[in-house]
């Protein structure tokens, strides 16, 4: 079991480096010019050359790549030895073409917003989705079930930007029920943090909850017809034991694994949600960078996102061993 874990970790690291390599290849595929971004037509040719030199764009691609990878572990010194040398602390992801900001610093500033959004929404949609799904499955065919299913179908067909906009209009702008979505660090004020994130959480959670409710419902229905649930009932266990401890436990594995993957993807940046609510998260950052072809930021956000997805996959794989004893213990 332990060997398997080590193998998977090594494979994940290799994968991450493969992603870095491919992403870095963007520099070759899309010859972007930092000079154009930072000062456009207003600069002289000399300035432009200077900028390119500062960004180390003028050196061969393979050398750029080597320095980039090295920079992830050791402080990178751009233009070492010259008068315009500057240090980029490890992990160094370069400097923005447009603003010349250190990309790593930028990500550090934006990440908490994305994390807050992802974690809050995901907890909401997991608990909500599972509970509604269970309710729907246990009251199969009745009004409650039909209601939950309809709402879930409706919810999963909606788009965040539509729902977000509609909810903002009615809950924030017109009626002041919820505060304006904005990010406040939880270390400053927990209440402001939660209040500012509430609308984005509800919006994101509502749409995802629908999917999870349907998933839970079908998982529960399948598990309810399993022999071991019949055994639990025939031994006289209470309903709540039968439904929560036995049935849900049997149905939860695929839900947990999908949750892990969803969360992993979201941690890398919830592009649409952040844009809809004007939150300065990593997702929005990546969107803006793509529009402007600000390559260092693009590469930075891609690596950032890839890291979480790979880690999420790793955790989900390992979780199987915890959730299913057949996988970790042989006969």
């Amino acid at each position: 079991m332990f060997n398997y874990f080590i193998k998977r970790v090594i494979a994940s690291i290799v994968l991450l480096f493969a992603v870095i390599f491919v992403t870095f290849g963007l520099f070759m595929a899309v010859p972007a010019d930092p000079a154009r971004l930072s000062c456009g037509k207003t600069c002289s040719e000399e300035t432009k050359i200077g900028i390119r030199h500062a960004m180390e764009i003028d050196i061969p691609f393979s050398e750029q790549y080597k320095r980039f990878v090295k920079g992830l572990f050791v402080d990178r010194i751009y233009n070492q030895g010259s008068t315009v040398a500057r240090t980029c602390e490890a992990p160094c992801l370069g400097f923005s073409f447009r603003t010349d900001e250190n990309v790593t610093d930028l990500l550090q500033r934006r990440a908490p917003v994305t994390f807050s959004l992802a974690l809050g929404a995901s907890i909401l949609w997991l608990t909500g989705g599972v509970l509604f799904g269970m309710l729907s499955a246990l009251k199969r065919g009745k009004l409650v079930d039909k209601l939950v299913q309809s709402v879930a179908l409706f919810g999963s067909s909606l788009q965040i930007y539509l729902i977000g906009w509609v909810l903002s209009l009615y809950l924030v702008i017109r009626n002041n029920i919820l505060p304006t979505p904005a990010y406040v660090s939880p270390f400053e004020s927990i209440t402001s943090w939660a209040g500012g994130m509430l609308l984005p959480w509800i919006t994101l959670a509502f749409i995802s909850m629908s999917g999870y409710a349907r998933l839970t419902r079908s998982g529960m229905l399948e598990t309810l017809s399993e022999d071991y649930v019949r055994t639990a009932r025939s031994n006289g266990l209470t309903k709540s034991r039968v439904y929560f401890r036995h049935t849900l436990r049997g149905a939860i594995t695929p839900i947990i694994t999908i949750f892990g993957l969803d969360l992993g993807g979201l941690l890398g940046g919830a592009v649409i949600t952040e844009s809809t609510f004007g939150l300065k998260g990593v997702g929005r950052l990546s969107l803006e960078a793509v529009y402007e072809l600000d390559l260092p930021i693009i590469i930075g956000t891609v690596i950032f996102g890839a890291f979480f997805i790979i880690v999420a996959n790793l955790i989900v794989d390992m979780l199987y061993a915890v959730l299913d004893p057949k996988v970790r213990i042989s006969k």
Partner: protein
């Protein structure tokens, strides 16, 4: 009468691991078994779960390749035959499976299921495919008008008949029946067994009949081979095995079968303790020794050879 089938030292080992990340272990499903089948004869292959009888059946039907050993069909060693070499004789060796519900493609009509052996082998029967298939349907006791129906429209017993029709389509010489009646209701089992018996006589078929139900084998087969944990422990005529079994396992097996006659009080039931050992690490020497009441030192060191004892072949150091 010649031997239509002769199996020599047949072995099959599987690599498997039950845990992720664990080293693969070797499952010794079948370990060096040898037996013959005469033309027109039916040989019952019996044993409990894990004894290797199904694996043996699949190797004979060439659905699995043996790890070692030889399979002589009509004198020819087919054990290492490639797909291409098997093509001309595929029609001669057929198989009937246990579960009538999964052995038939639910998306194909019964007519096309039975017609498939012809179409796959590019054989056109002289009376035309449809007529031939309808003849086969009638032969197995089904209504030829149901040619265009789907498997789910038939009962379990009827589906088994369809499986039989498919198996006899190309006039095979040998049919391997893998527990053909185990999944059927008791009242239907007799029907299917009668059908198989009639077909055997009519078409001069040789049968390898794999079963765990000793009573069925007792009444249906000419000869019986008893397997335990991948090895043959006793081979004899059906009468001899049931009247005078020599191997302790055979005796235990027979005594475990519950008697239908309530007045037939089982004199001495032999109690086999424990479970069947794992085929990954079978006991040394005689594989049955861990549960045998006669086990001695020699049983642990030397695997017993299949030798003639009375009218049977027995693999035991201390046959009864």
């Amino acid at each position: 009468m010649s031997n239509i089938l002769e199996v020599k030292n047949l072995t099959k080992e599987f690599k498997s691991s039950s845990r992720i990340g664990e080293a693969k272990s070797l499952v010794k499903a079948v370990s060096g078994i040898s037996f013959e089948l005469k033309e027109g004869e039916s040989l019952g292959l019996v044993g409990e779960s894990g004894c290797g009888k199904s694996t043996t059946g699949r190797m004979i039907a060439k659905l699995l390749d043996p790890t070692d050993g030889q399979i002589f069909f009509n004198g020819q060693d087919i054990s290492k035959f490639s797909e291409k070499q098997m093509k001309p004789i595929r029609g001669d060796i057929q198989m009937i499976f246990q579960d009538p519900f999964s052995a038939l493609n639910p998306r194909q009509t019964v007519g096309s299921i039975i017609g498939m052996p012809f179409t796959v082998n590019k054989i056109v029967p002289k009376q035309g495919l449809k007529t031939k298939v309808q003849e086969l349907l009638e032969l197995v006791g089904l209504n030829p008008e149901h040619y265009n129906r789907f498997p789910h429209e038939f009962s379990g017993g009827q589906r088994q008949r369809i499986g039989i029709a498919r198996a006899i389509a190309l006039n095979p010489k040998l049919i391997v029946c893998d527990e053909p009646v185990s999944a059927l209701d008791v009242s239907i089992q007799a029907q299917i067994l009668n059908l198989l018996n009639d077909l055997r006589k009519e078409l001069n078929l040789s049968l390898v009949f794999i079963a765990h139900d000793l009573a069925v084998v007792r009444n249906f087969c000419d000869r019986v081979a008893v397997m335990y944990l991948g090895k043959l422990v006793e081979v004899s005529s059906a009468d001899e095995i049931f009247n005078h079994a020599h191997h302790p396992y055979t005796k235990a097996l027979l005594s475990a079968v519950p008697a239908v006659n309530p007045l037939n009080k089982k004199s001495e039931r032999i109690h086999l303790s424990g479970d069947v050992p794992s085929p990954i690490d079978p006991p040394s020497g005689c594989r049955f020794r861990t549960r045998c009441w006669k086990a001695q030192e020699v049983c642990a060191t030397t695997p017993p050879a299949l030798l003639q004892v009375g009218k049977s072949s027995v693999a035991c150091h201390f046959p009864e």
